[in-house]
Point group: C2
């Protein structure tokens, strides 16, 4: 058994070691890139350090909360498993859980660290070197941002594959039963999922609260630039990009990656060759991704909107396609070596292609080259309401192609899997195939937020406008590659969640007829499950609104009350800047008129409120399957999982694509110069974009994790549910999570965290409504 | 058999006859109410006649399209059933289908006719009688509007019960097999559902396109009152209230009502007592509703917002509660007489209570007395985007209580039903219980649009502002009673659809284990089904936007180009009115300065575009279960139905409640006088309200029908699917509906009906973006 285990894990260790070596190479490359100080703009580094410190503070606060959560849950698992499965299992599950949680958190932390270093260097690469006079180019910027993104991508896959392989190896050494091994491996996935959910939710709330807050008071009210350094919320906004789009995404995809491997290995049902394949494919994928990396480069020069986005896009996609093509060959080889039926190989390929097709359709619905986004922009003619309606319509209709692709994939891979011995394994291994080249996919996705931050730094440091133009091009391209990334994220989430559901069913001692979808218990499970993503999306969206309102109140307060030694307020200083800069772009403010905002305060508020707001949705997501499973039984829980996967999938696609489409409709207005030609139309599109912010960056991505987390929780506690041969059999066990659910809700209401009250309530008092 | 059939149907005939007699009484009462001419305001009658003629024109256009559709579908059913079930079945199914469709259309027509007469009389009741000088009161208006609504309510239940009883009687006489009878009865339900869907969709698009179009150019652009007679779209807007909220709702609830009876009778599985109960309960409900009617009255006087809504609400609810209480007694009696287990009676009561509770929670989320609506209003401080986000959040979170209530109802009624012999029957009979007192529920719901129209007539006829204030109170109250009505509509839709799904399963020769929700085929069905409501909602929302744009273009054209003999344009005339009325409220326009808009043109545009836009969503809804069922098989179709019920239920609740909440948030602003105190906050809430319009009046209610229609289609074609013992067995049959699906889509694209293009495209050309 131990030698088998070594055979399964070794390629994973080797590939992960390769990934880490490659990251070492990337670090050397990054070390060679110039900093702000190197090109004579040291303030870029100072601001970047400020952003890094804010991101660190946030992650520390978040993680210190999560440590409590993880320990509490580990103890719960330990107690439950001690009574039902014995001490050895209990220790193994709890430790696996902690291990998974730790690695997921590390992936997020790592990504954040490298991204906050990379942003300043990207700015420097796009700017003019004061020493040499050399002008920065788009290609220079792309190189730095993409290298930074690659560290993140390979860190996630390296940690993921090493972690899951190590966990499998240790568990196989400890237990002789394959069942036990897989059981404890599910604990590893559970740990990763729960951290991913909290990180996505808190990061998502943070980034959008700071963004919306900074924009509404700064850009809209005071009429200053998006990243004006006088806006106290600007640093928080830039911190948010790192903790949400980088750390949150890192934890998220770490979880998808290991989740797909765990699901496939579980559904291999002890067939060693099939288990091996689940671990070997990601290993092959890492190698292909490294090769793909070297195919990315571009000669394209670009200034603002004039850049040829198609050519640039191709530069990036080349790497992905090369990696994909190599992977197909590699997968065929592995399939042959393991002597597995060729049907399995086809399943892998179907998964890979499905991911790419979903990404392409996502591009159609969210890129401004096509009808949907143009139609949203056009509806701006009749105001913000019609922009919102059209955007929602586009988001909803965009569910159609991915769902058809997924349904066809599921039907065909399960039919192929059936011929190769197991329908469930066919679906599960296709999810592994989809995610195998994640290293390069994530690299092309993660560079976007780095470029975005670089643009922020350029503006905060008063660099030349041309720098911002270059970073804007990079950012626009990032929006499109992000669409491809989202396709993979959603597609793999659905396939993985369905595989976990199948694996869960395998652990329960009930006849298939018990899961009849026509049974009222199963149907009420489906209904309840379908409701959960709506509850979850609602909680996160309302949280963004509340957190943003706190930021707004603080920024307004600072504009009026923060003064320098001469007694000049921040607001006065901004007005002075606006007045002077109008006539003279190069005007420099005299030192005694300059006022510095208290950025730390906004960072603090965002941190506190986002961590506070993540508690309810995060805890509900973990508790819901426990309540359903223990109170009613596994039949109900199966229905619940299926319902939540189905409605969660729709909502996730709809929200992500509507958000992306609104964002690009606004960008299209800017590109067409409508800000001057049709200001009302442009304003209407800005409203759509703001509505879309929590859609695409908070609620939408978190829904992907929700459906996987719920399945992972169920799979982990499956042995405890195995004896429920009639509904409500041990309902009293279910009363415990239900009591926690209700108790937590009451406490959150008492603490005024779950409330309909507006944090800006003081502005609403009396007759004098102070408008913002 | 024939005598049994007579026993089953007789109470239905008697109760329906009672309903028609009662309607006769109501007509006598209405005839006694004064018209506009009677109180010396003949222009009220003239305008009302204009609205009536517009509504008739629309319904005729719509119905002439539907005749083709119904005949085509009847022939299809005839051909299919001739080959598989024999000629007798084929004739019976097709005729039942046509009969159901005809009655559903008649219910809509009848409601529209009485509502368009009632509106003028309601205006007259609220206005001052020029002959006697007697001032109209709120109570007078309520009496007329409620009597009108009652005609509608009792017409629907009378036609419904008479129709389904007659159909059952004739079929039972013709066939000796209970199975065949139920089979053909499903055809009746299918006919009713398909008309309901088209009527809801076309009516919903019509009403919102005209509303949005009239408001955006009239209220927003020209700054004139909502119902200013110079606005050429105002008549269309008022027509819309009648064809959408009255005719559409009539067809919708007709379908729910007969659908619940058909589902319960089918699931009675030949047990005569249980079949009888399904027909007797609505009969008892009609009697109780008639008694309840006489309990409604109010002494409350009201002027605008100062009216005590609670007291008024109670006046209306009294009738509902009395009817409900009487019904409980009656149901117990019937249960006793039929010698059925007491568990069945409890199922009926659970259904009734579930409907009421869902209604109460709906009220919490949509009434401005509670936190959710207030929080939406508060978010207006930071602009329209936060209003939209908060409203969506409220809508999404409002899914939680109804879903928990439904899940508990399903679990408990199926457990009770199980003890009484059939779990499915327990659920189905609870839906019948929920809808039994529909007569009175619908009366309290349908009076709302009548009052709304009455207000429109008052303003169009330049009556005193106090008249509009009274009708506004009535309308506000109508919004709250509508919430209760929506609770019943959604709750009964879900229960009925689930019962139909169970009935469908009973017709298929597959083992329960085949429907295992863990099977990939079933799961991909669930995913596909969950996508359909999103597609459907998207199509209808986008249609509203396009149809509204056409109206906008026409209104703008008329403002600039319609002239009187003196050459004065409509726009000039409006400006003159605005100028003069500012100083002198009683100013009368000299005849040579008056310009009349061409209202018929807007009616024509709305009619054409809404009928045109209803084709795609309506046809897709009918075709989708046919494609899924015939192409893949009944297992896939079962998954599809469950998925669409689950996601359709969430979207329907979310859209209806978000729409209602936005509407009332805007009303709350008006009530608090924020239009002057915080105009930007108020404007932000108006944006929310406009987004909510298609939510609550087009897409949301149509989703209720969608889930029932899909189940009804499946049940009707179930015998043709009974032999699919393996997936894709007769996939070539499925290629026919799929080909129609694709062909229709291509034709609609070719005709530019399915398009991303904007009808206002001409305004978007070139540099000169003409803003609207």
């Amino acid at each position: 058994m131990a030698s088998d285990a070594l055979m399964v894990s070794t390629p994973g260790f080797v590939a992960a070691a390769g990934a880490f070596l490659f990251i070492g190479y990337l670090y050397l490359k990054i070390a060679g890139f110039k900093t702000g100080a190197d090109i004579g703009e040291p303030q870029v580094d100072i601001l970047s350090a400020q952003i890094k410190s804010g991101a660190e503070k946030f992650l520390k606060t978040e993680y210190s909360f999560l440590v409590v959560f993880v320990i509490a849950l580990a103890i719960t698992l330990f107690v439950l498993f001690t009574f039902t499965e014995g001490l050895a299992s209990a220790v193994a599950v709890s430790l696996s859980f902690i291990f998974g949680a730790t690695l997921s958190a590390s992936a997020g932390w790592w990504g954040m660290m490298v991204a906050t270093d990379g942003n300043a260097k990207t700015t420097a690469a796009c700017a003019t070197d004061k020493q040499t006079g050399k002008k920065g180019t788009l290609n220079d910027g792309l190189k730095v941002a993409f290298t930074t993104g690659a560290v993140m991508g390979f860190a996630v896959v390296g940690l993921g594959l090493a972690g899951v392989s190590l966990c499998y190896f240790l568990l196989s050494t400890a237990f002789s039963s394959d069942d036990k091994v897989m059981q404890c491996l599910a604990g590893f996935g559970f740990g990763a999922s729960s951290i991913a959910l909290f990180a996505r939710v808190a990061g998502g709330i943070y980034t959008k609260a700071a963004d919306v807050g900074a924009d509404l008071v700064g850009k809209v009210e005071a009429g200053i630039d998006e990243d004006d350094p006088h806006n106290p919320a600007v640093i928080a906004d830039n911190v948010g990009d790192n903790v949400g789009d980088v750390a949150g995404m890192g934890a998220d995809l770490f979880e998808s990656y290991v989740g797909s491997v765990i699901a496939a290995a579980t559904l291999a049902a002890g067939d060693l060759a099939k288990i091996k394949l689940a671990f070997y494919l990601p290993a092959v994928g890492i190698v292909c991704s490294i090769i793909g990396y070297f195919a990315v480069n571009t000669k394209e020069e670009g200034k603002g909107w004039n850049v040829e986005l198609g050519a640039l896009m191709w530069a990036l996609e080349k790497g992905m396609y090369l990696a994909g093509a190599l992977f197909i060959g590699g997968a065929l080889g592995v399939n042959f070596v393991l002597d597995l039926p060729i049907e399995i190989f086809f399943c892998v390929i179907i998964g890979l292609l499905a991911g790419i097709f979903i990404g392409k359709f996502t591009e159609y619905f969210t890129s401004f080259d096509f009808g949907p986004v143009k139609s949203i922009k056009d509806r701006g003619l009749t105001g913000p309401a019609t922009v919102v309606i059209q955007g929602l319509g586009v988001g909803m209709i965009s569910c159609v192609p991915p769902v058809i692709i997924l349904a066809v994939s599921i039907v065909s891979t399960s039919a192929l899997g059936e011929r190769a011995g197991s329908a469930g394994y066919g679906v599960a291994i296709s999810a592994v195939g989809m995610l195998s080249t994640l290293g390069i996919t994530l690299a092309t996705d993660a560079y976007g937020p780095v470029a975005d931050n670089a643009g922020g730094l350029a503006e905060l440091s008063y660099l030349d406008k041309s720098v911002r133009a270059i970073t804007d091009s990079l950012d626009a391209l990032g929006n499109t590659t992000a669409a491809t990334g989202k396709g993979f994220a959603i597609g793999s989430a659905v396939l993985t969640a369905l595989s976990l559901l199948t694996a869960f069913k395998g652990k329960i001692n009930l006849a298939p007829s018990e899961y009849d979808i026509g049974e009222p218990i199963v149907l009420s499970g489906v209904l309840t499950g379908a409701m959960l993503p709506f509850l979850f999306a609602a909680l996160t969206m309302i949280s963004v609104g509340k957190a943003a309102a706190e930021i707004i109140a603080e920024v307004r307060y600072q504009f009026a009350n923060v003064t320098n030694e001469a007694g000049m307020t921040l607001g006065d200083c901004i007005r002075l800047y606006t007045k002077e800069k109008e006539h003279n772009e190069d005007w420099v403010c005299p030192a005694d008129k300059e006022v510095k905002p208290d950025s730390d305060k906004c960072v603090e508020i965002s941190t506190r409120s986002s961590v506070q707001e993540m508690i309810a949705p995060g805890a509900y997501a973990v508790l819901a399957p426990l309540v359903g499973g223990f109170l009613v039984g596994p039949r109900f829980l199966m229905g619940m999982l299926a319902g939540s996967i189905a409605s969660g999938c729709m909502l996730a696609i709809c929200m992500a694509n509507a958000g992306g489409a609104w964002d690009n409709a606004k960008k299209l207005c800017e590109k067409l110069g409508l800000k001057k030609k049709a200001p009302d139309l442009q304003k209407a599109c800005v409203v759509g974009d703001t509505v879309g912010d929590p859609f695409k960056d908070t609620s939408g991505p978190a829904l992907n994790i929700l459906i996987k987390l719920m399945s992972m929780v169920s799979l982990t506690v499956a042995p405890l549910l195995a004896d429920y041969d009639s509904d409500f059999k041990y309902w009293y066990f279910g009363s415990v999570p239900l009591a926690i659910f209700i108790g937590l809700t009451l406490i959150l209401i008492k603490l005024n965290i779950l409330t309909w009250d507006d944090p800006l309530g003081s502005h609403l008092k009396g007759d004098g409504y102070q408008m913002i």
